[in-house]
């Protein structure tokens, strides 16, 4: 028959065991207090205890249990299951993503929309007039050389647009000025493809038409655009450049650091809208003025991400698309 002494022996053994191996508190707790632990085994013996002694026996059992609990602390059996190997890799979710070009477009669109510019969408197959002549590039204009053009067979007055500046005429024709608008889209150049040239790529074009638009307004808007896009103040350089559809015209370079080396990167072309173009918008150039700027979406994407070859855009390689 078990004696009450068994309980004090058990308690003493528990004290000694914990003192010897304090780091094994949890496993000792289970060994003494667990469902199949030593206390439980002892308490099973209650059936052997004569009924008159059972009360005292039960009291001793409860006291021992409380003492053991005090000794080992509250049950640390948590709500959670401990992980045997937390370094196991995660199960990758199936994630789709917009193309990095689309992601870049979205960021550009958000900036223009926040500045109150209206989004426009215009055709990719365009008339020669809207793409060239109306933008002050009559036939035989030398500037047409710079933009090698895809022409449509049997429709000599149709071209694949070479820039998104086509929005300037099309939007002005359907909008009462003042106008603030932008277009994002696919453009085409008939040139052999290499790391920096594509037969089809993506551009943004933004323009404002109002009563008294100044070069300083263009500079301020460009600075704001690049600061917002990159999320920090950017250093820009404004370099005079000839474009038939603006006067004055300029290129914008941005100072960019790669591998510790700073260099000027050409980002876009811009200027005050040429009075001939204002006239072709069916507006009076003595009353209306404007600025316009446009650049490569691919260019922004490549500069920021370090993509070194424009041809990745159309390669449809999942290993590429997955990275962005």
């Amino acid at each position: 028959m078990p004696s009450l002494q068994s309980f004090s022996d058990l308690l003493a053994a528990a004290h000694a065991a914990l003192a010897a191996n304090p780091e094994q508190r949890e496993s000792l707790r289970v060994a003494y207090l667990g469902r199949k632990g030593k206390l439980a085994a002892l308490m099973d013996d209650i059936r052997l205890v004569p009924s008159v002694e059972r009360r005292a026996w039960g009291q001793a059992a409860n006291e021992t249990k409380r003492s053991l609990e005090a000794l080992f602390g509250a049950a640390t059996k948590s709500a959670f299951t401990p992980m045997s190997d937390p370094s196991m890799p995660g199960a990758a979710p199936t994630v789709g993503r917009p193309h990095p070009i689309s992601q870049t477009m979205k960021r550009i669109a958000d900036i223009f929309l926040s500045l109150g510019y209206s989004a426009t969408q215009n055709p990719e197959v365009e008339t020669d007039y809207v793409n060239f002549e109306g933008l002050n590039m009559p036939p035989h204009h030398p500037a047409r050389d710079i933009q090698d053009t895809f022409y449509i067979a049997d429709h000599p007055h149709a071209v694949l647009r070479t820039h998104c500046s086509t929005t300037q005429l099309r939007t002005a024709w359907t909008t009462t000025p003042p106008i603030k608008a932008f277009e994002l889209g696919r453009v085409y150049r008939n040139e052999a493809t290499d790391a920096t040239h594509e037969a089809s790529f993506f551009q943004y074009d933004a323009f404002v038409v109002d009563r008294r638009i100044r070069m300083s307004d263009l500079l301020g808007t460009l600075q704001l655009f690049f600061d917002r896009y990159f999320g920090r103040p950017m250093t820009l350089r404004f370099r005079p450049h000839y474009y038939p559809f603006v006067e004055p015209g300029m290129d914008v370079d941005m100072l960019w650091e790669t591998n510790g080396k700073k260099q000027w990167l050409e980002m876009l072309g811009s200027g005050l809208i040429h009075p001939t173009v204002i006239r072709n918008m069916k507006l009076n150039p003595t009353q209306w003025t404007g600025f316009a700027f446009g650049g490569g979406i691919d260019r922004l994407m490549m500069v920021e991400t370090g993509i070194n070859d424009i041809r990745w855009t159309h390669r449809s390689d999942v290993r590429f698309l997955r990275q962005f």
């Binding site: 055709p123 050389d145 149709a158 909008t175 808007t221 015209g249 390669r315 449809s316 997955r322």
Partner: protein, 763 residues
């Protein structure tokens, strides 16, 4: 345009270091691409004498050339057709690096190791010609360092100029521009001799007056055609032009200095009685100086004598009338031609020359005759010979134009106030002779500026010299009210996000394909909008479907992934052509997926995405109907999309595409669906189904069984012994109560009966 600084300094004191000068030029709109020394030849570059030329044992077009390099001989493999014994050539030995950065290695060419290379002038950075190897004057002994032939004291700015500034394609024009930028004083360009008498032999006869503004000839006799003096050769080389002989070199020198192209005829090889400027006859031919036979057309302008065409005006002289080593008498020509006439001929013949480049952009009208006189002066001095005292001359320089604006116009457009004196100083520096009267500003447009026509041009001139970067930065106070975006704008972004969130990867493919592709897809080339000048036959037609390119895109990913799922949003272009002169252009969404499972799994995968899309636009009543080997997506009577599945060996590839216009047109608000507070009961039922069984028939029947049946999904399909089994998961739910077992059983019994009615056999 290459600008040797030594030449610039003849007209202007330049104190800025080359880098600082380049920066100032660039910020004034004249981009300096690089700064180089005119000679980059180290000890690997030697003068060689060609001794023997043998054919290469393994290649018809290659030769084995033995070259004497003074102290030794080398065998070199050479591909140039013009290599011949006795020539003096430029050799780069193994270990040397060409100006392009190409390092010369000893590698076998078709089995024969070449110990170096005989260079063409473009390879040496001395010019653009790659017509053959460069032949040096014979006076240089074998083994001479090439650096001695082309010494490199000169610093050269390489400018990338904009097309409207023809005046900058000359040393003097650039000097004028730099004077305006730096505020330094420009020395005048002086020409002493100016004949007053008229030259009668040859006479000038202009038969195409609208194409020619000025035409002038002078004549010299007793000229000795020999190599130019070293200083002249060095200067031309530094400017990127290959020295030829003293006569040709002087014409090039004067062209580089003034921008006025000149041409020299051998007076004894032409019928010098009358020089005619006329349109070419149709199919008339001319062998140009580069040895190419050119077939001309009637919109081209030529120089001719009474018998034959002598030169293509503004482009290139003819081989039969040019100066040779035996020439003694020459006729020198300077002219001003219509830029568009030169440009169209250059484009038609794909022939661009230093002179066509200058004519196309517009030359300084006032310098045509002085430049001619300058060349005559130089040739008499350097090549002996006596100039005839007269000049044959047609036309006059273009009249001087004036341009008026106000100071406030300039300030308003720039957004800054610039002092009137500063504006005057800038414009005077550019040679525009500004006059200010009150608020009015008037300038004289000089003969060399073809790009100044409107007041905005003066805004540009003042702005670029001040520097656009110095202007304040403001924002327009435009009050333009934002307009709602175009109808498809929001839809495209929404679809892009939705497909990506569903786990599909967006891609972009080229919007054109070739005939073979469209025919494979059962489309007709004749229905397609075709490019007149496609880069290649497989990019000739504008796409009418996004799927062909997406199938290719998937295939490309096979080596790296087995279950790629891609989507694209893009335009398709198709007839009919509208009144606006443009074809129909539509925006479509396409999705493709591949799987190693069966065709049905592939199909259901793309259909699942499209169903998500359609439902999200609140569209109901879309059906997917078989049409031969394809499936049409139909809404009412409208075909809004299509789907196809292809078996590709180990893979099944499915694609579906849908018109975004179609989605937007049929879009409906999607109201909130009440959600039952009571639990849903799911019951599965499996049956062997007959061949003519379709899900559509079953779901139509199931729909009228009970309002408690809220949905039926197919969760398993398999076939065994030629029989097809399907397992359906039925979802039952009430809005009012928790369903009782007997209610569920009653519905399921009807479902089983309905399946049996359709020929099914419950498993």
């Amino acid at each position: 345009m290459r600008l040797p600084l030594s030449w610039l300094k003849e007209f202007l004191p330049v104190t800025l270091p080359p880098e600082a000068l380049a920066e100032r030029l660039t910020l004034a709109g004249n981009e300096v691409e690089d700064i180089s020394s005119s000679s980059v030849f180290d000890e690997h570059f030697l003068v060689g004498k060609v001794e023997t030329v043998k054919s290469h044992p393994n290649a018809d077009k290659l030769r084995l050339v033995t070259v004497d390099l003074g102290s030794r001989r080398q065998e070199i493999v050479c591909g140039a057709p013009n290599v011949a014994p006795g020539q003096t050539v430029a050799v780069v030995l193994v270990g040397g690096t060409l100006p392009s950065g190409l390092k010369i290695d000893a590698r076998p060419i078709r089995g024969v190791v070449s110990e170096g290379m005989i260079c063409a002038e473009d390879e040496l950075g001395l010019g653009k010609s790659h017509g053959g190897i460069m032949i040096l004057p014979a006076k240089w002994p074998a083994g001479t360092l090439l650096g001695t032939v082309y010494p490199g004291q000169d610093v050269v700015l390489n400018l990338s100029l904009t097309p409207q500034r023809g005046d900058l394609y000359s040393v003097y024009g650039l000097a004028r521009e730099i004077a305006a930028i730096t505020g330094k004083k420009l020395k005048p360009w002086v020409i002493r001799s100016a004949p007053k008498k008229r030259l009668t032999n040859p006479r000038v006869s202009i038969k195409a007056a609208s194409d020619v503004r000025q035409y002038a000839l002078r004549r010299l006799h007793g000229v000795e055609v020999k190599p130019s003096p070293d200083w002249l050769q060095a200067r031309l080389s530094a400017a990127g032009i290959r020295p030829v002989n003293v006569v040709v070199d002087v014409t090039n020198y004067v062209m580089l200095e003034t921008g006025q192209p000149l041409h020299a005829f051998d007076a004894n090889r032409i019928d010098a009685g009358t020089i005619i400027v006329r349109r070419a006859g149709a199919q008339e031919q001319l062998i140009t100086l580069d040895g190419v036979t050119r077939t001309l057309s009637s919109d081209m302008l030529v120089i001719a004598d009474a018998r034959k065409v002598l030169a293509l005006t503004g482009l290139m002289g003819g081989q039969g009338s040019g100066v040779t080593a035996h020439t003694t008498d020459i006729v020198l020509e300077a002219a001003e031609f219509d830029p568009v006439r030169v440009r169209t001929a250059a484009a038609a013949l794909s022939l661009r020359s230093e002179s066509s480049l200058r004519f196309e952009k517009g030359i300084d009208s006032a310098l045509t005759v002085p430049a001619l006189n300058r060349a005559v002066e130089m040739i008499s001095k350097l090549a002996g010979g006596t100039a005839e005292p007269g000049i044959a001359r047609y036309g006059q320089p273009r009249p001087i134009q004036r341009l008026s604006t106000t100071l406030s116009f300039i300030n308003d457009r720039l957004g800054v106030t610039i002092a009137p004196a500063e504006v005057k100083r800038i414009l005077a520096g550019l040679g525009l002779a500004p006059k200010v009267a009150g608020r009015n500003l008037t300038v004289t447009v000089p003969t060399w500026r073809h790009d100044l026509a409107i007041p905005e041009d003066l805004v540009d001139e003042v702005g670029r010299i001040v520097g656009f970067g110095t202007l304040p930065k403001t924002l327009p106070d435009a009050s333009a009210p934002p307009k709602p975006p175009p109808p498809l704008y929001a839809a495209e972004w929404r679809l892009r996000d939705m497909c990506a969130r569903a786990g599909w990867m967006e891609t972009l493919s080229y919007p054109f394909y070739g005939r073979a592709t469209l025919e494979q897809w059962g489309m007709k080339a004749a229905d397609h909008v075709r490019l007149a000048n496609a880069l290649s036959p497989d990019q000739e037609f504008l796409r009418q479907s996004l799927l062909p390119q997406l199938f290719v895109a998937l295939e490309k990913n096979r080596s790296t992934t087995t279950d790629a799922a891609l989507f694209e949003i893009g335009h398709v272009v198709l007839p009919p052509w509208g009144k606006d002169g443009l074809p129909t252009e539509e925006s479509w969404l396409a999705a493709v997926a591949m799987t190693t499972d069966d065709a049905m799994s592939a199909y259901r995968r793309v259909k699942g995405l499209m169903e998500l899309v359609v439902t999200s636009f609140g569209i109901t009543g879309v059906t997917w109907k078989r049409d031969g080997d394809r499936v049409n997506i139909v809404h009412g009577k409208d075909l809004i999309g299509r789907a196809v599945v292809q078996d590709q060996g180990a893979y099944r590839v499915a694609g579906a595409e849908i018109s975004i216009e179609g989605l937007v047109d049929h879009q409906r608000p999607k109201p909130f669906q009440p959600i039952s507070p009571f639990p849903t009961v799911e019951r599965d039922v499996s049956a062997w189904v007959p061949d003519d069984f379709t899900y559509e028939k079953f779901s139509a029947a199931a729909q009228i069984i009970s309002p408690l049946l809220r949905g039926v999904q197919v969760i398993d399909i398999f076939s065994k012994d030629g029989k097809l089994s399907m397992t359906f998961r039925c979802e039952l739910r009430s809005m009012d109560q928790t369903l009782q077992e007997r209610e569920v059983d009653a519905v399921m019994t009807k479902i089983r009966q309905s399946l049996e009615h359709l020929g099914g056999q419950i498993r």
